[in-house]
C-alpha cells in the first residue's frame, strides 16, 4: 500500500516570500490533515478536510495560510507571505473515517 506522499522534502525561503506544499493521501482516504510541527513541540493541526470540504480550520492563520483540496484527493497548503516563525515541519496525514492517521514524511520549511 502506497503511503502519504508529500513534496518538496525541504524548502528554504526568505521572509515575506510565498511557498506551497503538496500532499497526496493514501488512496481511498476521505480525510486529509495538515499539521505544523515546530522544533521540540508536538504536531498542531492546521486544517482538516473531509473529501473536498473543510471540517476544521480553527487553528489556521488565515491571514497568511491557505489550503485547498479541490477534487477530494490531493491537497496544497500555501503560506503567503512567510514569517520567521513559520519555520517548521509541515506534515500531511490521511485516514479513513474514525481510523488511525497515516503521516507523510513532511516538508521541512526554513524561513530566513
Amino acid at each position: 500500500e502506497a503511503g502519504v506522499a508529500q513534496s518538496p522534502r525541504y524548502k528554504i525561503i526568505e521572509k515575506r516570500q510565498s511557498v506551497a506544499f503538496w500532499c497526496n493521501p493514501i488512496s481511498g482516504h476521505a480525510t486529509l490533515y495538515w499539521y505544523q510541527q515546530i522544533l521540540g513541540q508536538g504536531p498542531k493541526l492546521l486544517i482538516q478536510f473531509q473529501n473536498n470540504g473543510v471540517v476544521d480550520d480553527s487553528q489556521l492563520p488565515k491571514d497568511r495560510f491557505s489550503a485547498e483540496r479541490l477534487k477530494g484527493v490531493d491537497s496544497t497548503l500555501k503560506i503567503q507571505p512567510a514569517k520567521l516563525e513559520d519555520s517548521a515541519v509541515y506534515l500531511c496525514a490521511s485516514s479513513a473515517p474514525f481510523k488511525k492517521l497515516f503521516f507523510g514524511s513532511g516538508t521541512q520549511l526554513s524561513v530566513l
Binding site: G42, K44, L45, Q48, D56, P97, F102, S105
Partner: protein, 112 residues
C-alpha cells in the same frame, strides 16, 4: 480545549533498560488515545487505546490506558538503540471529529 501532557520530556538510557513514558490528558468526550513513534519526520503508529485496563502489546512495547485517572503509559522493555526516537501521545475527542491533539513528545535516547 483538549490537552495532552507527556513526561518526561527527554530520557537517556542504556541498551537493555526498561523505560516507562507517561501521558496525561484532558479531553471532552474521550474517544481514543494514540501513541506514535517519530524517528525523523513522519510519525508512525504504535497503539490506539479506547478501553481502560486492557494492555496493548507489540513485541517489546506495551501500553495501557486508565480512563478514570486520565492517563496512559507506554513501556519499552530491553531497549535497543533503534528505539531512540520521539514518542508522541495524542487524544481524540468525539466533539473534535477525527482531530488529534498531540503532546510535546518524549525524546528517548538509547545509548549502546
Amino acid at each position: 480545549e483538549d490537552k495532552v501532557v507527556q513526561s518526561p520530556l527527554s530520557l537517556v538510557v542504556h541498551e537493555g533498560d526498561t523505560v516507562t513514558l507517561n501521558c496525561s490528558y484532558e479531553v471532552t468526550n474521550f474517544r481514543s488515545l494514540l501513541w506514535y513513534k517519530q524517528e525523523k519526520k513522519a510519525p508512525t503508529f504504535l497503539f490506539m487505546l479506547t478501553s481502560s485496563g486492557i494492555e496493548k502489546k507489540s513485541g517489546r512495547l506495551s501500553s495501557i490506558l486508565d480512563k478514570k485517572e486520565l492517563f496512559s503509559i507506554l513501556n519499552i522493555t530491553a531497549t535497543q538503540t533503534g528505539d531512540s526516537a520521539v514518542y508522541l501521545c495524542a487524544v481524540e475527542g468525539e466533539t473534535s471529529g477525527s482531530r488529534l491533539t498531540f503532546g510535546e513528545g518524549t525524546q528517548l535516547t538509547v545509548n549502546p
